[in-house]
Symmetry: C2
Subunit: 285 residues, 2 copies
Amino acid sequence: MKIFNDINELRKHLEIYRTEGKTIGLVPTMGYLHKGHISLVQKSVKDNDITVLSIYVNPTQFGPTEDLDKYPKDLENDKKLAKEAGVDVIFIPTNSVMYLDNHATYVNVDNLTDNLCGKSRPTHFRGVTTIVTKLFNIVQPNGAYFGQKDAQQAIVIKKMVKDLNMPIDIIICPIVRENDGLALSSRNTYLNTEERNQATILYESLQKSKECIKNGEQSATIIKDMIKEMIEEKPSATIDYISIVNEDTLEDIDYIQGNILIALAVKIGQTRLIDNLRMEVNLIC
Amino acid sequence: MKIFNDINELRKHLEIYRTEGKTIGLVPTMGYLHKGHISLVQKSVKDNDITVLSIYVNPTQFGPTEDLDKYPKDLENDKKLAKEAGVDVIFIPTNSVMYLDNHATYVNVDNLTDNLCGKSRPTHFRGVTTIVTKLFNIVQPNGAYFGQKDAQQAIVIKKMVKDLNMPIDIIICPIVRENDGLALSSRNTYLNTEERNQATILYESLQKSKECIKNGEQSATIIKDMIKEMIEEKPSATIDYISIVNEDTLEDIDYIQGNILIALAVKIGQTRLIDNLRMEVNLIC
């Protein structure tokens, strides 16, 4: 496994693979790897000759009051897990490598970034789409792997790739969960024991919603109220949003039908967690 | 010479060249080719194994009151000139090929697009950087060729490529002029005889400025006032802007020193023309 911090050296190395006709998969991460990241790596290793893992905590996707400075890091463990999972190349740039002092170019996806996390984190997706574009241009992968846990991110990136004709396949992998249902996230490490116990409410309320919809509930308001009630029972929980949206437009829906996404953002103590559930609901009248 | 309207067919064709290890040059144009465009093609043909010319009048870079609908077209002549100049592939997409109905992704270069043409055409550069990104992703050229006549465009595209790590060399070619100095532009075809005669004032005032600066004039205001006076003598002329800027920042300067750009936009009758002059001014005290 090779490790690069420099863009030109990485490119030179990847060029060797490319001239050999090898396919390259990219797994962009912010490090502090968990089994969710590893599932992306495993899928890339399966699909491609070469897998590149990037580890970069991208400042432009954090708001001024967010956890940029305390985002967890464990580079040695990341390297160990990456190697075990079959990563060929790790790219670990510094901020000065990734952003020129007078950086001025941003990629924006309109509309899809207005709702959900885009509402509470107004500059977040501009940061994500910009850094992902940069990583795509640096690595020039055949495919790039993202997790369904960041549902809006997945949809926004797919839209960007389509709108800008990026020659890259975007592969979205399922959410990986703890045994009790909590979606894996590097931020779970912030939770204390009590908060960790309460955090399962996101998954539990999504499962309960699924059950209700399967039993015929068609009102988004009724489902959202039920989720709200369940979450508010947890003393550490503060709701950021509970949304039920059309999965193509990410616009709120009243009536549950078609490809829907139930998406939650909840602060447990000081830790903002997200989770979601996709459903295809076809009502037969 | 091959002609493509479809993105996938073009890509399939270019992939053949790429696997043969051939280099590809891209010359993006809006058609109605003149010797300025041809000079870009000739440079690309000299630098690369394969030259791709794109012809596309991109609606997103026109303002609502601009000349999108009447932009001149002569596809048969374009094909003839392209073939003579050594173009290997022409890409001529339609609007529905280039923009999905719900297109939502734009590339923005901040700061450099605030002044000069960005001031009078506020959404112009967003359209340019977005379409150029799309063409880069479709063609994946080794190099792309643009003219110095669109000085701000050249600087903005170079900045975008640098900021987003696009793996493409940007080559800026000199302005090609008529014998009397008028910079070649597809829009010159709009000018009637009287306007055509008056249109040389852009070049003449730039030449006069160069002379004054060479003779030691250091005040941007004095140079700009002189240009203004010269242009205002022409009855068909309406000044959009006369600017002297730092070539790196495109910010107005008062004192003429370093790498400067004198840039003009003037309406001659109904036709908006631009021209510019770059100078490196090193004063010895």
